[in-house]
Each structure stands twice: as C-alpha cells, then as structure tokens.
Symmetry: D3
Subunit: 249 residues, 6 copies
C-alpha cells in the first residue's frame, strides 16, 4: 500500500528558472535513465524475487526513487514557471504540451517500459540495477555541468549521490551471494568454449585483462558451422533463378 506526504524527501529550490534547462531535466523524469525507470524496475522485480529480505531492499529503494521522481518533477515545474510568449522558441516543448513535467525525455520521446530490464532471476535483476544506477548517475553529472543555479546543483547532487548509494547496496547484495565478481549464475552448464576469446575485429588489436590468461586468445577465428539453406516458404512463388553460383572464392 502506497502513502504520500505533501513534502519533499529533500529540498528543491530553484533560483533562476531556465525553461531550456527544464527541458534537459525531462531526461531524468521521462527519459531512459530517469527516476521512473528506476522506480518501476526495482518495484516490479519485488513481485518475483523469492528472497523476502532482498524484496524488502528493492521496495525501500523503489519508494525512494518515486520520491526522487517527485523532486525532479518539482525542479522542472520551477524551471518552467515563467514560460511565456517571449521565450517560446527557447523551450517550445512546454509551449505546446504545457508547463511542468511530462513523461517524455529531453527530445520529446514518450517514456516506454522497454527501458526496464528485469525478469526471471535475482542475479540478473541486481546486475540490471547496477547498470540502471550507472546510467542515472551519468545523466545527473551531465545535467550538473550544464547549470549554474545553486539550488538546482544541490538537488541534482543529492540525486546523483543516492544513485551511488543504491549501486553500493546492490553490489553488497550480489557480493553476499558470491555473484559480484563471478560471471556464472543459473542452472545450465556452459560448454567448453567458456574461456575462449575470439579476435573478430582485426587491425589495431590490443591485449588486456579481458583477453589474457586465463582466457585462451584465438587470433584468427575460423567458422565451425555450415550455412543452412533458407526455409521453403509455402506462400512464395518459386522465384525464377536468375543467377548462378560462382566458383568457390
């Protein structure tokens, strides 16, 4: 059951409204890396994660992200509070769709649940969450660098901070499960190629921890499978053969 207080989890005080910056902020309200994505991703995971203690963590963080979404919405509302005839060409998005936040990103693309990454396994979910936090943190940094308004910077810095906290919480959980530094999970045994690395993009090749021992590096990989023909389409007419097979290349 959800409850709400008509207060903010942390203060939001915009000094100098800037509708163009308000448009950028949409990236964290209705954009891919925004708070809605995080809130809904963690919360929907809580419906299928079996461990009730991890479920509790997911719900705690999800509710905080809803509260952060509210902070971002208030930031946008304040930055667009003076939108009027004069600066319509600076942020026409709000002129057409109304002031305040909308569930679109800074380019006007509607939020979509395809941004969410979840399902079927708690290790997969937690790794997805660390990725989500990294994306959110990155966008907050980009936003902070594009404003000089002190109140805005303070609010955004808090939001960036909390993404780091959440990332650490997810890391601690994976670590306790032994899955932070171990790529394996699930019930299927991998095959014999699990340590092989293929050099498929060739030219200025490089070596590093990702293709040195214990990995087995294959400098010139070869195809191992034949090339199955296309299926016969029952609806297709028999195409008139117009070419001929060349001699082997």
């Amino acid at each position: 059951m959800f409850l709400h207080r008509k207060e903010l989890i942390r203060p939001v005080n915009v000094g100098e409204p800037d509708a163009r910056f308000g448009q950028y902020l949409l990236e964290q309200f209705g954009g891919a890396t925004g708070e809605l994505t995080a809130a809904l991703q963690y919360w929907v995971q809580s419906f299928h994660v079996e461990d009730e203690t991890i479920r509790d963590m997911l719900q705690d963080i999800a509710i905080e992200e809803f509260s952060h979404l509210e902070m971002v919405g208030k930031l946008i509302a304040q930055h667009t509070a003076k939108v009027d005839q004069e600066d319509v060409y600076a942020a026409p998005l709000f002129a057409m769709k109304g002031v305040g936040p909308h569930f679109i990103d800074s380019c006007g693309s509607a939020w979509t649940a395809t941004y969410i990454n979840e399902g079927g396994n708690v290790v997969r979910d937690l790794r997805a969450n660390i990725a989500a936090e990294a994306g959110a943190r990155q966008t907050y940094e980009a936003l902070i660098k594009r404003t000089t308004d002190q109140g805005t910077i303070e609010a955004l810095t808090h939001l960036l901070t909390r993404e780091i906290t959440h990332a650490r919480m997810f890391m601690k959980t994976l670590d306790a499960m032994g899955k932070l530094t171990d790529p394996f999970f699930g019930n299927i045994e991998p095959d014999e190629t699990v340590n092989v690395v293929y050099n498929l993009s060739q030219g200025q090749d490089a070596r590093g921890p990702w293709n040195e021992k214990p990995f087995e590096y294959v400098a010139n990989p070869k195809a191992e499978g034949e090339f199955p023909p296309a299926p016969v389409n029952p609806d297709d007419e028999k195409a008139k053969i117009v070419g001929k097979r060349a001699k082997a290349a």
Copy 2:
C-alpha cells in the same frame, strides 16, 4: 569495415522443427535481451570510448554477437521450415509475416533501440554490458528448458556459454579499472547522505549487507523539503476554486 563468411561461427542443426519454439526464439533475435541488442550496444559504445584497448574488446565482442544473431536467425529459419496450413494456429505470427526470423520479439513487438543502454562514460557502459549479458543468459536458460531438440539445445548452450564469457571479460575490465566493486565513478563529489539507507517500505522489514554497517539505517525517514506550488500556466484560465484547505492533518 565489415566482412562476412557464408558459414556459421558454430554449427546449427535442428532435428525436429517446431514453429512454436521458433516463435519463442524470436526473443533472442528481435527481443530486448537478444543478440541484436548486445551487438549494437557494444558496437555503438566503441565509437565514444576513449581507451583504444577497451574499444578493441568492445568491437571483438560486438562482431561475435552479430555472428550469434546469425545463428539464432538460422535456428528460427529451421524451426519454421515446415510452416504450412496445418499448424498455422500454432504459430500464426509466421503465417502472417512469413517464415524465418524477423526483428520482433516472441510477442510480435518490434525491436527498438530503447533496449540499448550506453553513453558518455566507459564505466557506465561496462556495467550496462554486464547487465545485458545477464539478461541474455537468463532468456537462453528459459529457452533451453522448453525444448528437447538436441541440436537446438547444443546451439543455445553455446550461446549461453558465450554470454558468461563476455560477462567475465567485462568484469575483468572493470576490475582492472577498480570499478567492479566500487560504486563511485565520474567527477562529481557525492553529498553527506552517501552512506544512508532509508526504510521507506515498512512492515516486514529486513536487514542484510545492503543496510547494515557501514551503512547508516534510518528506520523512520522524515521529509526534509517543503512542497513547492505548481507553476502558473499562461495558457490556462484561472480555475474557479472549488475546494478549501482542510485543517492541518
């Protein structure tokens, strides 16, 4: 520059075609966790990642994922090779759109680049890649459990294996950068709340590595910010006030 050999990187030999299973396989051809997502995500990252050695790794893996996408496509082509009038109701998707693979998922939703997670920072990118590998591995496990065709199982097990390999490669890279187990990255200092955990979903609360020391646990978080009013919309008429503020709750 891309090149192609009309051979497969690993064999694909379907014993018993099953159009319904072919439809499930679309999840890894044109679905969120599929090979197209992985191939394009790693490859597009290679355009902006500054470290040329990590770029090389991203390109090597991206090209392998394109080769895996080809394997999945061939699996679908073989599983739909006998689609005809009789089993049209078993996999009507292929009856309407033609046999063979399409860039849609198992529910018929078109692939969208919103599945991709990348941009602006190599740590963010690598974390996104570990998440992508986990999602792909999970879907391959679900697929393997729903078929008894041995050739299909072998091909899918190889594809699952390689997701583990790639995850390990990304982990090794992050580890060499000191960013596998450390949540911090980027250029912004977090604020003083970085170790605080809020118990915002209350009831059957739990404790664990994610909210025990060194975290500071706040059992009953309080709002710290006021609630800014809505912006005045210049296009709105002045709504007739129809309610009255209640006494403070």
Copy 3:
C-alpha cells in the same frame, strides 16, 4: 514524499491459479487502461494544476491507483505461481519473460507514456480522467466475465468499484466549476459555426439530441475553401510533368 506499507490496500486471494488469465490481467498492469496509466496521469497533472485543493484530490487518487497497481501485480504473481513446463504453451509470455507482472499489456506490448492524456488546463485534465476511469472500468468488467475464481472476482470488483468512485469525484469537481455539462473552457472565443452540425457521412442518416435544435443541421455541406498548391521543395528535382489536367469534373 512516497511511503509504502508491505500490506495491500485490499485483500488479494487467488484460489485457482490460471496463467492464461494472468496474461489477461497484464492489461490492467502494463496496458493502456491499466492502473499505471491512471496513477501516472493524475500524479503528473498535480505538478501543473494551480488550484491546490484539486491538486490534493489528484494526489489522493493517484496514490490509491499506485496501491491498486500493486493489487493487480499480486493477482498476476499468484496466477502465474504454478507456471512450469506443462502449461508453457498456455501462457508462453511468462515462460520467456519470467513469472509475475511486467509492464506490458496482454499482447506483450510495452507500456508507453503515450497512453497518458494531460497538460495545460485543469478542465482538459479532468475530462481526460473521466475517460481514463471509463476505460479502466470497461476492462475490469471484461476480466470479471472471463474468470470464475471467487477471490479474483472480489478483488477485480473492488478495483472496478473504485473507478466509479473516482469518476464521480472528477465529475463533482467539474460540476463545481460549471464544466461538466458545458463544453466551453479556455480563453478563445469560438467562431460563428459553433452550433452547426455537418452531415458528412451520408446514407442511412439519423437525427438525435446531437444534431437537433439548438444545433443547426446542414444536410449537404459544401466546401468553403480553395485548395492551396503544394510547397516548392528546394531539395526536389523538377518532376517531369507526366499528366494533364482534365476538364473540370
């Protein structure tokens, strides 16, 4: 600020899990008429509606809708609790994407913020909300008719009931503003055609309250404007004129 109790606003007790029905229920979790649409629509409106008393109503209802979304999610989780190898073909969606709710509709299409209708004016918002409630109620009725599980029926009937309550609340608000039965709102004067009705679809024509007095019915409408030519496209070559104008029809 959001808070959460790990209890449900109303009980959810599924007697006989049915994964296929679980798939239908997705329509109200991640579908167009579902609880996410309602919750986010009313809540985002609260950021720009000037009247603080109406804002309070929008927030009260939005929070209830989040709590309803949780109920629908729990219903889906219970209906998919027995998904396994045997009934995979009955609800393959959960086999591929994992058990429990996802932000997709019953056909597997991802939820999109384009379902939301809001912006710029409180009358427009409230009318959109009455429409949203009507769509939600209709889908709940369709769901209730397709199940015989008593616990499911009780939960869905409560959810249907609340949509009626919310519709009444929105109606009362519009009525207090004089805008429930009066089509006018906003600051622009309509032109002289405001009472004219055009019979543009001709054949088995009908008359009713919508085209009788005080409306002025035009049985055979005529075009009143000329047909402007196409703009000259600077990027286009001059197309070779290949036809000739016929004599006037």
Copy 4:
C-alpha cells in the same frame, strides 16, 4: 465508402510563412491531440457501437476531422513553403524529412495508435471523445497564442470552435443516455466502498465537492490486505539468502 473534393471545408490562407510555427502545427497533424487521433478514434468506434444513430454521429464527426486534418496539413505546407538553406536551423526537421506535413508531432515523435481510446462500450467511447476534444481544443489555444498571422489564427480558431461543437454533441448524447453526470455504466455491481474517499496523500489536505458528503471521507486509511509472497520461479536458481528479517517495525 470515402469520397474527396479537392477543396477545403474551410479556407486556409497563410500570410507570412514561418517554418518554426509549421513545426508546432505538427502537434495537430501527427501529435497526440491532433486531428488524426480524433478522426480515427471516432471512426473506429463506429464499427462496434450498436446504436445505428450514434454510429451515424460518430461517422459524421470522423469525416469532419479528416477534413480538418487536411486543413492542418495545408497550413503546414504553406508555413514550410519557403524552407531553404537560410533558416534550416530554425526548423531542421523539415530540412531532413522534407517540406509539408508528416505524421509526427512537434518533437518529431511518430504518431501512434496508442493515442486512441476506444472499445467495448459506447459510454466509455463517448467519454473518451469528450476528453479527446478537450485535448485538441487546448493545443489549438496554445498554437493561436504563438502566432500573429491573421490567416493562421482564423483557421485555427475555426478548428478550435469545432472541437467545442463536437464536445457538446458528445455531451448531448451522453446526457440523453443519462450518463453525462452519472458515473455508473455497465453490468457489474460495485462493492460497498463506492462512496468512500481515502486521504492517501497527506499534509496540506483539502476538502471539496469530491470528498464531502455524500462521500465518506477516511482521513487515515489503513491497509486491509496481507502481502502475498512472490511466486516460485521454476527457472530461477534458489537465491542464497543473504539477509534476515528484522523485528516487526
């Protein structure tokens, strides 16, 4: 059967082409509140509404909306008639996609049928239509306020006027059915909570017609349902329990 006259239902005469304004106008050609949404929504409803007289009304208005879509298209064509090298940065959308209208909104997002609200019940359809008209009217007002071109203002004012007319027609129809001011419709009996209002967003609470008598106001709502556990996912490994349940909060 559709027919077309190469004339406009009402005149369109742009005095001073303005490509930027042409871009805004896309909101009513290929945007959520635009004429395509209205035309297709009313028309598709006419296929399932049983009452043939209401069907006739839906078709009459749908055909008018198609004619309005044509007017908006002609406005855009005229406003982009001078797009060339000089002002390419003012409306680059047309530079890339060609002059004239496209089925995208003012941000370049493609029109989608998810904007449409219809199905299964005539009361639901008519309420959706009143909402659609309100959205369209609101966008026309926003557009009218951002131009000084007299011909454009006249055309847009006519289009705004007709949305009011249509809203009145839909209201008259609902009123004749007794469903304009009565929230109930359909065949399911609501439960005993139908008059209850929950104060779920707490703080600066307000009272008004929406939560005063005859509504029963619950100032401090309590959860009434237990919290069902997550379903067991047959594909998931048993996650290592890493936390412990805390004492009851």
Copy 5:
C-alpha cells in the same frame, strides 16, 4: 474535403465468423502492410508533390485505400460478431479490447506512423508506394490461403487485385518520368564507384545480372579509409588505461 457514403465500395459478406481469423485480419487494418499505412502514405505525399496531376493520382488512390480500410474493418467486425465466453481463448485479444477492428496488428502492436515511407522527392515517394503495394498484396495472399470462407475470399481477392492495379499505376507514372528502370534521380552527381560491386559476404559466391557487366566486380574488397579515434567526451573521467596495443595483426 472528405465525404462518406454509408455503403461499401465493394461487398463484404462473411459466411462463417471466425474470431481467430478476425485477429489475422488486423494485420491489414492496423498492421505495417495494412490499408491505413497505404491511405495515409499516399495522402500525405499529396501535400508536397509539386506536379498537380500526380497529386491527383495520389489522392484518388488514397481515398480508395480509406474505402478499403473500411472493408477490412467490416470483415473484422463480422468475424468477431460471435465472440463470447466459449471461444475467448481462441482470440483473447477481442475479449480484452472489445469486438470489431482496432488499430493494432495481428500480434496486438499498435499502428505507428513509422510504417510510412515518404518525403522530399516524388521519385522516392513513388518507389515507396510500389513497395507498399507489394507488402499489402503479400499479406492478402497469406490471408486468403488461411480461410475457406467464400465471402471473405472474394473480398480479400478484390483488395489484393487493387494493390496490383495501384502498383501498375505507380509504375506507369515512374515510367513516364523515365525513373522506373533508371536508378538515378535527384541533383547530386555520384562518384566514380557507381558501377562497382563488392563481394563482402564470401563463401558460396554467386554471379548474376546484379554483379555482371556492366558492373565491375571486386572479388576481394579492401578497406580504403583509416580508423578515426573516438572523440574526447568532456563529461567522461579519464579512463585508466588497462590494456596495451598488440603488435600489428
């Protein structure tokens, strides 16, 4: 200006309603190759094509496609006329969304204007139209093969026929412009590679009219350009270099 007759351009008489087939028919109502795509594509082209005689053709065909969309809608309405409790699992889509047509495809994906191909040049538009007709014809053939209802077959055969007619009309137009068999159009001179064909997919190579003289066939293409480094991202931290460049491959 649009007009409508409440009659069909050609008869639609379904003998034996089949809700599952009704779902397939959605492919031509709200699907990629459907009549809405054709109608809107040709019609929107008519706003920017300069030659008024070609514009007339585009409008004539667009209006016919709207009339065909109406026929497909009526087919779907008749095929779903008996949807009830019994066959709900056969076509659950209609159970959830209501009987009759909707602007979704046979998998439930909403129609999107991204299906439309148009803009900037009449030759490009006409080529896009020939492609659209081919896709529509192909889907009609697939539908005809999956039904035995004679009335349905007759209606679908007419619709298929008209796609051939329209394709011929577009071909005749391109031919009169000299652009049916000549790939060139527009104002930019191609470079010296215009007759070169690269054998980039190697293995079982083939020769045919597409890579024989007058084409110049390059059996083993070489890269001609260097590989520019990635741009320096001002928001990125300097990634710790973790790999080393390998010796030239």
Copy 6:
C-alpha cells in the same frame, strides 16, 4: 560469420566539426532511412529468400551497409568531438546522451524495426529494397546541401552513390525475373477490376499514364456494397437508443 577490420571501407575526414550537423547525421545512423535500416532489412531477407544467388547479393549489400553505418558513425563522432559547455544549446542531444553516434534519428526518436519492410516473397522484398535505397539517397542529398565541409561532402557523396548502385542491382534482379515493370507476382488471380481506375478525389482532376488506356477510368464511382451493422458486443450494456433514423438522404 561476421568479421571486422579496424579500417573504414572509405575515408572519413571531417574538417570543421559542427555538432548541429552531427545531429542531422543521426538521421542516417538511427533514422528511418539510415544505414541500420538498410543493413538489417537486406540481411534478414537473406534468411528466407530461397534463391541462393539472390541471397548472396542480399548479403553482399547488407555487409556493405554495415560498413556504411560505421562511416556515418565516424562522421558523427568527429562532428561532436568538440561538444562542450559553449555550444551545448546548439546540440543539446549530445550533451544529455553523450558524444558520438546513438541509434536515434535527428529528432531523438529511437530506431525501431518497424522501419523494416520484408517478408514472405522475394519480389516484395526487392521492391521494398528499391524504396529503401530511394529514401536513403534522398536524405543524403538533404544532408549534402546543408554542409560546406569538404570531407563530409565527399563521404556523403560516396554513400549516396552506393545507394544508386544498390538500387540498380535490385532493379537488374527484378528485371531478370520479369518483375521490374510487371506489377503481378504471387499465386492469386486478380478479379475483373484489375484495370479499373476510380476518380475518388474529385475537383481539379487530371489524366495521365496512370489512368489512361489501357486503364478503364470511372469518373463517378458508385458504392457497390451494403453497409453491415456493428457486431453485438457481449460485454456491452444495451445502449439506450437516443436517436432516430432520418428519412433517406
């Protein structure tokens, strides 16, 4: 099996970076007419086209398009190489999402597989490909006209050239099959209306090769079908009849 060389198929050398032009270039990286659409469309066709020689052609061209996608990506990377605080308002898209290419178009809309046109028949596929090439060529021309950077113009001119080459290859193939100038294909006999042209948009009518002999021109088409009633919706209440049928118009 895919392989990659860390070299470009043709040189890319941007002289003067221009982030705004970089944003336009996205149209050919992640836009409808871009290289990703072409590469994936031709390649996915190769899975179902039966004729192995045509399959080879599709694969050769698909691989070239991937190499072109790489060129466009490098162009965007170079044009955004200097994105910083100063010109953030010139191309804010890169400020928010990071420098370099992304799979979005110039308006920020994510690439979607709905751009792809393929399936079920080789003639349909090849016609779709000629259309795709025409769209790509058109966008390259628009881009070339909006830049003065010589290196950019050379790269774009090469890319435009290759679209012409590919169009010619597809035309040669269709011509060898007798399907370049003949609209017929497939296995269904058209009905007797195959040569009829309907004048459905009336007014300033025109005649040309598309409606002159051998076509049969119907100047005033009449409806030939009755208008079936709406289906009875089992979920709908019986709407109170509120209108009456008018006398026949």
